[in-house]
Each structure stands twice: as C-alpha cells, then as structure tokens.
Symmetry: C2
Subunit: 589 residues, 2 copies
C-alpha cells in the first residue's frame, strides 16, 4: 500500500466518520463482502463464499468472518446483493440467523436464485428479500442508494452508487463493458457518469482481470464462434460451462435452435439455474427444444447437443463422469465434439488437463478456450477499468475483488490515468478505511487542488490501526468455522506420510507389556510388504516400554509416549526417510 | 489415435522388426524415456523423472516403469541423454544398477551434471559416461547415431539422428529454434535437413508447446527486457528462476555486470549448477562479480542483485523463505524489485500467486512474465514444430514429450502441413510401434506415393497389441515403487476428513469391556471442542460391543470391527457430514 502523506495537522473532530470496510474478497477471488458504516447505520454489499484451495483439504467452502457484523447487527439497514453468483451470495444462508435476518435488496433474478438456495436451508420463509429495479432509489439509514446496470455473464448484474454525507461511493460489483451483451441490457454508462459529475469520494472496483491489457471479448463473439463450431460438427456436441454462466447457456441454446439440434442438460446446479431463468422469463425458447438427457439415444447424433457442468474438471460433475465412462446416459465416443466453454480457475489447471486427456483418449475432439475463443470473461480488462475510473472520477480508489497482486495491478492502472498514488488504497481484508470531514483550510485546499475528481468536500482519510477479524471461516459438512488450523495441519501431515498408531497394553500391577504391541498404520508403507519393518518396530517398542517401566510405578505415561513418538519416529525415518504422524496409546489393564 | 488403414495383405515376414517404444513422457510433461530396438540391440534415449501431482501427496518423484528394460538389459547398447534437465536425466541414479550399468553417452555439460548427481548417490565410480561431441558418430549395435545441436534453455542440448536398417529415425529432444541463443550455438539446421534428404522413417518431436501459435520468443529478447529492468531499478534486484535454466542465469549475470551490480546466489541446486557451468567454462565472468549471500548487507542496495530459486512458489526454496521472512540473509523490504523469471508449471499456479501476494505485502515490486517478458520457453511453438517437420520430412510422425492433449495438437499441426493423418501416431506410454520391411508391391507403391517424405523403403507399421508396463513408479524417501495406489488412497482419504481410531479392550474371559473405549482422532474435528460428540460416540461404541459380546464367545472380532466401522461411521456422518477413516481395534486381555 502507498502510505498517504499526513503532514497536515488534523483539526478537532468535525463530522461523523464514514467507514468503508472491505471485510472479505481482497486476498482471494471469492467470498466478497463490503461494509459501509456511518454513525449508527451499516449497509453490507454482497455476502459470498469461496471454494477452498489445496491447503484446505476436505473443506467444502470458505466464508467471511462476520464477527464484527454480528456485534453490530442492530445497525444493519440492509444487505445489498450485486448479482447472483455464489462468490457474492453463497454465504447468505450460513449467516442470516446470526445477523438477525437483515432484509436483502436485489434485482429479480438474483432474488430468485437466493430464495431457491434459502429454501434448501429451510430459511426462505424467514428471510425478507425486497426486489428492486435498476432505476429505484433506496434509503437505508443515512445512505441513499442508486443502481446502474453493468454487464457480467449473468443477467441482472448491477453496480451501486451510495450517497453518504461525505460524498458518493461507487461499488462496481463484478462488471465488464460489453456493447453487445447477450441479455440486451447495456451498461448504464450515463448513470456512472452522472455520479462522477456529482463528486465521487471513492470507487471500489472489480480487480479480477487487472492483469489483462485491452478489452474483454464480447459475448457476441463467443456466440459467433459457438455457431461456427455447430456449423462444422457432424456428430454430437457436448458443451460444458459454469452452472452460473446463464448468458453462455443462452448462447449455446441459441446455436442449437439455429442448427436444428435438441438440447439435453446434465448437472444439478445447471438445471436448477436454467429452470429459474426460464421461469422468470430471462430466457425464452420454443418449448420442444429441450429433451431429457436419457432420451439422447432416440435422436441421430447430429441432432443432439448437450449442456453440462464440469468444465473445471470436477470428478463428480456431469462431464467428469462422462470422461471416466461413468455417466448413466452419455458415453463419449469417436465423433463427439466436446467444448469446454470456460477457462480454468487458478488451481484447477491440472484437473482440466486430466479431463481433456481422458476425453481425447475416448476419441472425442476437444475444443477449449486456449485454441479457439469459446469463453469470454465477465470481468473488466485494463481498458475497461480505466473507463470505469474515468467515468466516475473518484477522489479515492480502492481496488476490490481479487488477490493482492491483482489489486496492485489495478492500483497501477488507476495511477496511470491520474489517481494520485497516495489516494489509491491497496488494503487487506478487514481493514477499516475511515473518512472524516475536516474543514481545516489545508484539507480544503487539497480537495480543490485535485483536478481528477469532482469531489470537493474536504476530508481526511486513513486506515484505522485496528483491523477487524477477517480470517478464513471454513465450512466442512455441517460445521461452520469448527475446522481450524490444527485440524487442517493434521490432514496435511497425514496426507504426506500417513500415520502410525502404536498401542501398548500394560498390566497395571506388574507393569509388564500384555501381548504384542498393536500397530495401525495407513498411508505410510504398504503393510503387507513391510513385515520386517513392522517386526523390528514392535521389538523396539517393547524395548522402549521395558526401559520405561523398569524404574517402577510411574504416575502418567506421557514420558513413555514421548519416547515412543520420538524414538520410533527416528527409527522409521532412518529406514524409510518418511515421517508418518506417530500416535502412541498406552492402555492399562 | 488415428487408426491406420491396413487393407493391404502383409507378405510373409521379410526383415527384422524395428520397435520404437516411447516408454514414458507421453502422458505427462516429464520422466521422458524412449526405447529403440532392432533384433538384439536396444538403445535408450533419456531417463528422466517427473514431479508428483496433487493426487500423489507425500511423493517425492515419479520415475518410469523400467520392467521391460530390466528384462532386456543385456541388449542395451547405450543410454543417450539429450540434455541435462531432470526430466531427461533424473531417474538415472535410481536404475543404473538394475539396468546393469549401461554406458551413458552425452555432451560435456550434461555429462558433468549427471556425474555430480551420481556422486550424491555414491554411484559415480560405477557408471561409465562417454562424452561425445555434436559431430561425432556413434555405432551402438545395429544403430548408427549422429547428433544435431538444438536450442533449449541449457547449453549442450542435442537432437539425435538414428540410422536403422529401415531408415533414419529422428528424436528431437527438447528443442526450440532460436536464431540468437545465449550460448552462441545455433541450431544445426543443415544436419536435420541432410537427414531429411536421406529419408526419415519417423520423427519423434517435442510437444510441450504445441498449443502455442507462432514462434517462441528468443532468449535475446529476454536479455533485453532484463536489462531494461536493471536500467530502471533503484533498489535491490532479486531474480528467481529455475536452477536448470543456465542460459537465463547467464543473462541475469550479464545484466548485473553491465549495470555494476554484484551477484549473490541463493539456492542449493542453483549454486551447484552454476558451479559446474563455470568450472567447465560454459560461463565466463570476472572473478569478483559474485559475493556471498550473507555479504549483501555490505553493499548499497543499488549495487546488489540476487539470483535465487523458488519462482514456482516452493515454500522451502530461497525465495519462498524470503517471502515468509524466514531467509537468513535476505529480508524483503520496500524498494526491492523481485523478478519471477519463469512461468508456473501447471499445478503450481496457486503457490506462485501466494508467493507474489506475500512479496507485495512485504513492500516489494514484483515483475512476472504475464505483465512483462521476463521468461521465454525452451520449447518449440507451432511454427517451429512445422519447420522441424518440414526439414526432416518424416514418413511417420510421433509426437512425444507432453500430455495427450498436447500430442493431439502437434499431430494436428503435422497433418496440417502434409503428414498423412494415418501416419501420425498419437500413442500412450509403453505402446510398441513396430516397423517391418515388406516388399509386397502394394507397400512399395505406397512408399513411392508419399510425396511428403524422402523415405522410400517399403514398410508396414503397426502398434503392437501388447503394451509394456508403463505405470507410475513413485519415489518416496528411500522407497522406489513401494508407494502404490492403496497407500495413496489412504493418504487422500485421511486428508479429506481425517481418521478416527476406536480402541476397545475386552476381557477374554468375561467378554466385558475393560475400561472406557479409547478414541484417537486427527484431522476430523477439533477434539477439545467436540467433547459431547466423543462422549456420545463412546456410549455408542459400548452399546455395539455389548450387542456383539452378548451372544457369547466369538471366534474372531471381524464382525464387531465391521459393526464399529459402519455404525460409528454413519453416526459421525449424521452428526457432522464428514467421513473420517474409521479404524477399529479390539484388544483382548
């Protein structure tokens, strides 16, 4: 982060503080959540989840740490959701109760996607979702909110203009500028520009693609490319994409209609999302375009297209099962064209490659984004980021939605077009950015001197010394937050060299060993082929026990356990250069 | 694979078979090894290792399955190594003894790198390494070998022309065409073209970059870019690259010399490789350019450059330790420029991003290949692959070195410039490709009809029905091949939801439970916060034991163990939706 120059002596406190707190989503791609607070009013924008990385084996999801929000739940005036993707909505069901069921404000499609998920958690009756239109104004406590449509790869995506006593704050949500979007709803540039004209205190802007120069590809181009694949294909076409990429699914179905192919859908989340979009009339198709996936055998290959989940290489997804020959209704065969209409999420590259290898081996032709344009990102590239900054003309710039290196890149971009370096805040999850009005003439002068922005209210800004709790909260099965570092570390250790349980039974009168020591080991060596090693280890265990019991009665067995752990650990390492987790158990009988 | 049309009726057997067996390296990037066999003569090209993927937790390396070579070790006339990278040399120490210590033939730098590694295994006295020059000819049994220099990112890289009774076979090794290479040794195009003129039966060609259109970037361009970074930097420059990228290290040191900076080196493998290259005079520097890493504090920041390992984000590497504040001699600070002069190996993206995030947080500026050209691949892009094929004009094409999807891409490239689809063999590890001379007029006609090649010997080709053993052989600590699927599966299972050992002690007279059941669990739940769950589980265990012992004496405890595993498993899943590995132990006293 750039350290802001604070050579001006602050006046005594003048107005209330505006706090902008990116609680989450600044050290990762996912689990987005931002807090705006002024006096006794808090609004929360988005409450998403993240998928775990490989350092969190066994974990299902990661959600934000909402300790601060829980403590201040009576201040929360509303939860505003920018669009229906899980990294913006996914944590809602886990936290509604703890937050005292705040009202959710969002557009119709997003609302319905949230409602359906809440239903799964049996919470839909308890949560109030208020549907807003993009032209609505919303007064939530001191805040006045307006919205502007942006393009993303799901309909009903909006950014937010938040009027505060210290100026307007813009939160972009996830956005790109697509002049030919699939949902026919262009970005409302005029609204952004109008806010920019009124004076924007701060812009919080999506950093996901801040490494990419130029402009994102339009969905229209992807549609054309999909059409050209449909033109050429002679056999079945199987296209995999994210369940949440509704715009892409629309395009695939358009292409199928144009080429007289039926569409079969495979994948639970995909079917669910499509059902919602069709029910709410975000998509309109002839009724007979869809056929059940089990019926694809009833049509000739050139009349079939399949949309399915699994482009990220997930083993249990529809395409994952097809690639392993385990899908009930689709057996991949020579002549099939498989299209991966997505790009690998960082960390999934390996699984996607495995998927492609398997599909090729089964005889399919596989087309993916690296060799032909079958996917467009839903996030702004550098030139679009510049345009967003230039339209809104913010005094302060706060890159959000991305890992640290992505935020740094967008900060560089902002500085390159005129945002002063010291006004660009690359901060971390849970940092509290405070803005206070201060009419000290020096601040007034500073505000007037900044030609880049129309925001002229004299403020001082600072990052508060104290960060809010913002660690990973892991969801594993039914547990939320109960898997911590110790459990994860143990999982990692056992995954490296396995574990080795040594059970010794000791007669509590004579202190003699009863029977032979029991050894249970998994993930260390293949036990059937390591009889000698086990034999030797048992002998060593006996010797260690004898040493420790020869001195007579001992109060507890901890020194024996330590000795077993250390000496057997060393011995096994000498023999194998592996370090299984050693767990000694002493049973007195 | 394209199925070759075999409508011609083969004559009776005419000559001996030539077998080309890509034993390994066709389903991965790494562990390259190819076998050529004719009659009683075998030569082996390369014997590399591969780094494990995330499905092999705890494994150190993966090496080829050499079962076939062991069985035929008396036929082996030599092991030829194309260059000094570990994916071509790394398995040598593990297998020399089992292969009967075949003579190794290779160029000087490669020879020394292999020798130093054999020294670590105390094998250097036992293995004969014959140093060859690129213009040497080598007669190994029936085979006559010649060599041609190629460009790669380590000096002394060669491709091989193998004269066999059925025509010439070319093995490219790892290659690119760089007209301005750092080691000043251009590709010997004329030798490849001469072989092409004589008639090439088959070309085995590097597929690593077969997805990339155009030409690979020249190392010279990278040198220029590094120089421009040195021009701009005011503080320390810390550059991380692969230990084996000798050409890159050369360029970094050149830039340091030009800019009056000292060079400190950190990282064991890097120091070792540099030492060899300098000792053999592959690099020449003023003596005083290097300073010990512990001495960097003695110079002003703008006089310092550091070359280190860790660009892949490896936690224990030099840069990895710097990024965590754990390096003894280098503390990253504001003003440092860190350059990642490499690109992430698939699967390492996550760790590289974590590395960058940490470095940014410490105040460093981080430059990496995605935002500025600081790395060039050592492998041919599509246009270079075309040129290799056009120069050698092979009758048969066999893409090697790469995963299935990469091989498929290069096969498409070969077909696009004239190789008949049915002559391009995309095969798997261990496939035996057989060539037999057959003077049946139909074969003669076929050979003459193929205008793409100068190879006119009538042959028939086929993939033998039987594949050689070619699975993963895993090296874990001292064990080679003893970690198999069972051990790996257990490691994976335990890493997902941990394990849960239930120990019940039973009086073998009364069949009563002695004391309370012991439970040892790791990686499942945090035990201190799960007292109720443990309490309940113990109670359930007692009930299950009572049920099973109430029927009186039983012969073995397997039904009790099964009951414990199933019922406790179900119970824990109900309570947590996690499935730890459950290991019941019954102790009779």
């Amino acid at each position: 982060m750039s350290t802001q120059k604070q050579t001006i002596k602050p006046s005594t406190y003048v107005g209330k503080k505006l706090k902008i707190i990116p609680l989450s989503g600044l050290e990762e791609v996912g689990k987005n959540c931002t807090i705006f607070e002024y006096g006794d009013d808090i609004i929360v924008v988005d409450l998403g989840l993240m998928f775990p990385n490989e350092e969190m084996p066994g974990v299902d999801y990661v959600v934000p740490d909402i300790t601060y929000l829980k403590k201040n739940k009576n201040k929360i005036r509303g939860l505003i959701i920018t669009h229906g993707h899980m990294d913006h909505t996914g944590a809602i069901p886990y936290f509604m109760k703890e937050l005292g069921f705040p009202t959710i404000f969002t557009l119709p499609l997003t609302a319905e996607m949230i409602r359906v998920r809440l239903e799964e958690f049996k919470l839909d009756k308890k949560v109030m979702i208020k549907i807003i239109g993009p032209d609505d104004q919303l007064n939530l406590g001191i805040f006045n909110l307006s919205f502007f449509r942006v393009n993303h790869n799901i309909p009903d995506s909006v950014g937010i203009g938040i009027k505060t006593p210290l100026g307007i704050v813009i939160h972009t949500g996830d956005y790109k500028f697509d002049h030919t979007p699939v949902d026919q709803e262009p970005t409302e540039f005029h609204k952004i520009a109008r806010l920019g004209g009124e004076g924007v205190l701060a812009l919080l802007s999506d950093s996901t693609n801040s490494e990419q120069p130029g402009f994102a590809v339009s969905e229209k181009k992807i549609g054309e490319n999909l059409n050209s694949l449909f033109d050429q294909a002679r056999g079945r076409i199987i296209i995999s994409t994210f369940a949440s990429l509704l715009s892409r699914q629309q395009q695939i179905i358009n292409a199928a209609i144009l080429h007289g192919r039926k569409v079969a859908v495979s994948g639970y989340s995909l079917e669910k999302n499509l059902e919602i979009a069709i029910r709410l009339r975000y998509m309109n198709f002839p009724k007979d375009i869809f056929i059940p996936i089990r019926a694809i055998g009833d049509y000739p290959d050139h009349k079939i297209s399949v949309i399915c989940t699994g482009a990220q290489g997930q083993e249990t997804s529809a395409l994952g099962r097809m690639s392993k020959g385990e899908h009930r209704d689709v057996q991949i065969k020579h002549g099939d064209l498989v299209v991966l209409s997505s790009s690998p999420i960082p960390g999934n590259e390996r699984s996607v490659q495995n998927l492609m290898n398997s599909l090729f081996r089964l005889g399919a032709k596989v087309v993916y984004n690296k060799i032909f344009g079958v996917h467009a990102s839903g996030h702004a590239y550098q030139e679009e980021q510049k345009l967003m900054i230039a339209l809104s003309r913010p005094r302060y710039f706060i890159p959000i939605h991305g890992e640290r290196y992505m935020l740094e890149r967008q900060s560089d971009t902002a500085v390159s077009i005129g945002v002063p370096r010291e006004n660009s805040y690359v901060i971390s999850n849970g940092c509290v950015l405070e803005f206070i009005e201060d009419t000290n003439p020096a601040y007034v002068k500073l505000a007037l001197a900044n030609r880049f922005t129309n925001h002229k209210i004299p403020v001082r800004a600072r990052v508060a010394a104290k960060k809010l709790p913002s660690g990973y909260v892991m969801v594993d099965g039914l547990g939320i937050g109960d898997v911590g570092n110790i459990v994860l570390r143990d999982r990692q250790l056992m995954s490296q060299d396995g574990m080795f349980v040594i059970i010794v039974t000791v007669d509590n009168e004579t202190l003699d060993l009863v029977g032979s020591p029991d050894i249970i080991s998994r993930g260390f060596v293949y036990l059937r082929e390591a009889k000698d090693l086990l034999q030797e280890t048992r002998k060593k265990v006996r010797d260690i026990v004898k040493d420790h019991t020869s001195v007579g009665r001992i109060e507890n067995w901890s020194s024996l356990k330590t000795a077993l752990r250390d000496e057997i650990g060393t011995y096994l390492f000498q023999k194998t250069e592996r370090r299984p987790m050693i767990l000694p158990v002493v049973i007195e009988v």
